[in-house]
């Protein structure tokens, strides 16, 4: 991977489009960061999510650390109600699988799309007791 941008302009457009579409479909704010992180990656992701300020509550922050091979998803209080941890976990696994195959763009695009689909469904407020 040479110095400079990790994505071609076409790849950036694809990711940007996925992020914008996800926002339009769900009303949640999606953020994706791809790059190196010093120190504890989960702690950094939480701080970076908190730095979103007023948007943090509705924010879904995706951090991809290509050298440590880690993907972190942080959802805000309201966002987590729409996008539960199970759906986020599923998206993170799908992304990790794509990344392991060397496909950063496809992984991010699919992951964001999966989360948007999960969040677009109406939340289950009351689950029926087993009869």
């Amino acid at each position: 991977m040479p110095a400079g941008s990790a994505f071609t302009s076409k790849q950036s457009d694809q990711i940007r489009h996925a992020v914008t579409t996800a926002h339009d479909e769900t009303g949640l704010h999606f953020f994706v960061q791809v790059g190196l992180v010093d120190g504890d990656i989960r702690a950094y992701a939480l701080r970076r999510h908190a730095a979103l300020g007023a948007v943090a509550e509705f924010g879904v922050f995706v951090l991809v650390e290509p050298e440590a091979r880690r993907v972190e998803i942080v959802t805000g209080e309201t966002a987590a109600r729409r996008l539960d941890d199970r759906a986020a976990g599923l998206a993170s696994l799908a992304m990790a699988t794509s990344f392991a195959g060397g496909d950063l763009t496809g992984g991010v695009v699919n992951g964001v799309r999966m989360m948007a689909q999960a969040a677009a469904r109406p939340p289950v407020l009351h689950e029926h007791e087993a009869d």
């Binding site: 730095a51 300020g53 880690r70 998803i73």
Partner: protein, 102 residues
């Protein structure tokens, strides 16, 4: 008609008609026996590398990462604000998330 084919037959045999032409010059020989194979190899090599030229550099897990950090979504908050945060707001603490490695 049968006689016409019989008469034409021997005339069409190789080497029966026409002048054999001059000997190939050294330049022509090189062009045919070196130039054409090299050109073919170059075309094949170009076709092999074409996908990576079009798609840009490929991410390879395990290799050092030298690219700049990429950010997608509205640019809200910054590295500086993030590093200044010591206590997380409830919006983040009461949220959720997931992580995976590869």
């Amino acid at each position: 008609m049968g006689t016409a084919v019989l008469a034409a037959g021997p005339a069409l045999a190789i080497g029966e008609r026409g002048t054999p032409g001059d000997k190939l010059s050294a330049i022509e020989t090189t062009a045919i026996f070196v130039g054409i194979p090299v050109a073919v190899a170059a075309v094949i090599a170009f076709l092999v590398f074409l996908p990576s030229i079009v798609n840009g550099p490929r991410y390879r897990p395990g290799r050092p990462w030298t690219a700049t950090t990429a950010w997608f979504g509205e640019p809200i908050g910054s590295e500086a604000t993030a590093s200044a945060i010591t206590t997380l707001p409830p919006a983040t603490v009461n949220g959720g998330g997931a992580s995976a490695r590869w």
